[in-house]
């Protein structure tokens, strides 16, 4: 039996800002670039009370919480803090798989300090993050990655939740299927259509039914419903590409995909910032309502150096998709690939970030 911890920093960017600027403490803080189309990178818990969420349009956040303090993101600083968090993880294990600047999986089946339980390791990590970095993290402890991730969200913020091996089934049964990582609003709706609301309901569906409805992901759902996740914690996985995609609630024509592309580009950009390497190629992916996939990519002379640049390239790639007004799409994705070492490019820095 493996022991996995998922550590998720609480409102990470906003918390770093509040830590470093005492006048922001206790106030609603929204980390976002200026601009009409910008989206929120992070919101402090004070701001979340007003309904402000990550990835929401900054203008909407401003309307929801007009007295919030808006701070532009400072990724070099967040990266530095993220490295310090990682140093704390390293005291316990080298099997660390970062998902982004603010979350990581740790395999502590064997841990360097020889602590008897993963729960003790998680407590020790949370205490060190609090004492040394003056930040809070939530942690989930479970026999696999899938469950650890759900667990870390369970007592957020500043919480610890443990799913013991023998509790897996009773924990999962009442859980809404939407809580399963990878089940977005569209998959959830399609599951609801076949009478599946909870993970318990999902467990009653035959593998063949799930596979016929959801393809390969159906097989994965079948296993997750039973708490099975064999994926390993892979340290320093070299990133080949970063992408984000979104299935629309209703199929859309090409010219109504701009908002989704902007939002996905923001997400991909934020995720790419944690990379030590630079992506040279921008990819736009579309799936037609008939399920055929269209991709367009561009490798500019210099790698995209700002979110705005990435967004503009992704939007311009859309112009290279030939689609009649009758063609509807069910999904759009934005990706970055072709990562290179920064040193291989004598890089030109950007004015606007």
């Amino acid at each position: 039996m493996r022991k996995i911890i998922h550590v998720d920093m609480d409102a990470f960017y906003a918390s770093v800002e509040q830590r470093d600027a005492p006048e922001l403490r206790g106030k609603p803080v929204v980390v976002a670039w200026k601009g009409n189309r910008s989206v929120v990178c992070a919101a402090s818990y004070e701001a979340r009370k007003f309904g402000v969420r990550s990835a929401m349009a900054a203008l909407r956040a401003e309307r929801l919480c007009p007295h919030a303090v808006f701070v532009p993101p400072d990724f070099p600083r967040y990266r530095a803090v993220s490295r310090a968090v990682r140093e704390i993880f390293k005291r316990h294990t080298d099997l660390i798989e970062p998902l982004s600047l603010d979350e990581a999986y740790l395999d502590v089946t064997e841990n360097k300090e020889g602590l008897p339980t993963a729960t003790r390791v998680a407590r020790s990590i949370r205490a060190a993050i609090r004492a040394e970095l003056q930040l809070t993290a939530s942690a989930g402890v479970a026999p696999n990655k899938f469950l650890a991730k759900i667990a870390s969200d369970w007592r957020k913020p500043d919480g610890l939740f443990v799913i013991q091996p023998e509790e897996v089934t009773s924990f999962l049964t009442p859980l809404a299927v939407g809580r399963i990582p990878g089940v977005g609003k569209v998959t959830e709706k399609r599951l609801n259509e076949i009478g599946v609301q909870s993970v318990g309901d999902l467990r009653n569906i035959d593998l063949t039914v799930l596979q016929s409805r959801f393809g390969r992901y159906g097989g994965r759902l079948y296993e997750l419903a039973r708490g099975i996740d064999r994926s390993a914690v892979i340290p320093d996985r070299p990133t080949k590409s970063i992408s984000a995609e979104d299935t629309f609630e209703g199929d859309l024509p090409l010219d109504e995909t701009e908002q989704a592309i902007r939002y996905l580009a923001e997400r991909v950009w934020a995720a790419s910032r944690k990379q030590p390497r630079v992506a040279r190629t921008v990819v736009l992916k579309l799936k037609t309502k008939e399920f055929s996939i269209v991709t367009r990519s561009l490798t500019p002379r210099l790698p995209p150096s700002s979110c705005e640049e990435l967004t503009e390239i992704a939007l311009s790639l859309r112009k290279r998709v030939e689609a009649g007004a009758q063609q509807y799409f069910r999904l759009v994705g934005v990706g970055l690939s072709n990562f290179q070492e920064r040193d291989e490019l004598s890089s030109q820095s950007a004015l606007f970030e």
């Binding site: 200026k34 601009g35 009409n36 189309r37 561009l298 500019p300 002379r301 210099l302 150096s305 700002s306 705005e308 640049e309 503009e312 390239i313 939007l315 311009s316 790639l317 920064r342 490019l345 004598s346 890089s347 030109q348 820095s349 950007a350 004015l351 606007f352």
Partner: protein, 396 residues
């Protein structure tokens, strides 16, 4: 050869669309030169390769030939004096007509619409019939809106364009940077252009602009700026009429009018990136710096064009190196008493600016550190004009 009587009969079928004019070659060629750059070259819509000719009528239009060209993004409309025998309109292949008129000797040219949209061009002993297209297919071109226009001094505008246009992005994907921002205030105006790596900004004070309250910001596409620059270069008018509506920009210079579709999107917040604490300063002669950079750039990495500028005690060193071609260094003696600093830049960006300021006079370079934007300015002492060029460093 057709007899005159027969020709008469052939044109009758055109009814109201019949057109017959005579115009001086000199006047016509002048207007064709000014308009032909807007004509679409590689178009899939054939009518856009044509000029629209409209002759005479009543009032204002009488005794006048109006010429229009458009590529749907932009349009240009101009006119010249003509003897209108029959008012009407036609379209003529633009490039062919321009090349043909250039080859005709000075004198009067007669232009006459015939059957099937053919157009007859006669001058002296030359007689040509060109294959035109139906006037009805020529797209509608926006009309200059009534009232509310702003008059912009042509000399200032021309100067602003020539000192910023080169910094506009060439990457089509960055469409909000494919233009320059014109900022009009009641007593000043400014233009800003950037490609995301460098930015040119020129502000001219001591103006007096009508119909501007507060601040009016307009993003002008590069093609329109280039067109304006050439129109401004060929004019004696002192002011240009400027106006816009929801979708279109309008520029009128005497009898010539340019329209351009507006760029959508938001120009970046350039004010936020203007350096404020660049306190390591050096002043050098423009031609000397240009010479050094051009020499050293020969040995820069070909793809990036990166060169290094090092400032130390009373000396500026410019250097480059690349694995393929070798290395090079130039040194300029100049007063400098701040901490030494080394910054890498794209040599092409530096050269663009030095070309824009010209080879006479001095330029001032202002740095903060090797990661922050550098600023360059002409040391020309002019008080009503503030020209600055901001350039991001390269990591080398």
């Amino acid at each position: 050869m057709l007899g005159a009587g027969v020709e008469q009969e052939r044109t009758v079928g055109q009814g109201a669309a019949a057109m017959e004019i005579s115009v001086s070659r000199h006047d016509l060629l002048g207007e064709l030169s000014a308009t032909q750059s807007v004509v679409e070259r590689k178009t899939t819509i054939p009518i856009l390769s044509n000029f629209l000719f409209e002759a005479g009528g009543e009032g204002d239009a009488a005794g006048k030939l109006t010429i229009t060209a458009t590529d749907l993004e932009q349009s240009i409309r101009t006119s010249c004096a003509a003897t209108v025998k029959k008012p009407g309109s036609c379209t003529i292949p633009a490039r062919k007509l321009y090349d043909y008129i250039k080859l005709l000797p000075e004198g009067m040219i007669s232009i006459k619409l015939m059957e099937n949209h053919w157009v007859q061009i006669r001058s002296g002993r030359s007689n040509t019939k060109m294959v035109g297209m139906a006037r009805a297919n020529f797209p509608q071109v926006p009309q200059f809106p009534e009232g509310g226009l702003t008059r912009i001094p042509t000399a200032s505008l021309k100067n602003m364009i020539s000192k910023t246009i080169f910094a506009i992005s060439n990457e089509e994907s960055r469409y909000t940077l494919n233009g320059a921002l014109l900022i009009l205030k009641a007593e000043s105006m400014a233009m800003v252009a950037t490609d995301g790596h460098r930015l040119a900004h020129l502000e001219k004070t001591g103006e007096s602009l009508k119909n501007i309250s507060g601040e009016k910001k307009t993003l002008i596409p590069r093609k329109a700026l280039a067109e304006l620059e050439s129109l401004l270069g060929a004019t004696e008018e002192e002011t240009l009429d400027f106006q816009d509506d929801e979708h279109t920009l309008f520029f009128r210079l005497g009898r010539r009018m340019l329209t351009s579709r507006k760029l959508t999107g938001q120009f970046p917040n350039y004010e936020a990136v203007l350096p404020r604490d660049n306190n390591k300063l050096v002043v050098v002669r423009s031609d000397e710096l240009m010479g050094s950079i051009q020499r050293v750039a020969q040995f820069a990495d070909e793809r990036s064009g990166a060169i290094r500028i090092r400032l130390e005690q009373n000396e500026m060193k410019i250097s480059s190196s690349s694995t393929e071609s070798g290395e090079s260094e130039d040194s300029i003696e100049t007063p400098y008493n701040f901490d030494p600093i080394t910054v890498g830049f794209n040599s092409a960006y530096l050269i663009d600016f030095l070309k824009a300021v010209g080879s006479t006079g001095e330029v001032r370079l202002e740095f903060k550190d090797s990661q922050s934007a550098g600023q360059m300015r002409p040391e020309d002492g002019s008080e009503d004009q503030r020209y600055r060029y901001i350039i991001m460093p390269m990591r080398i």
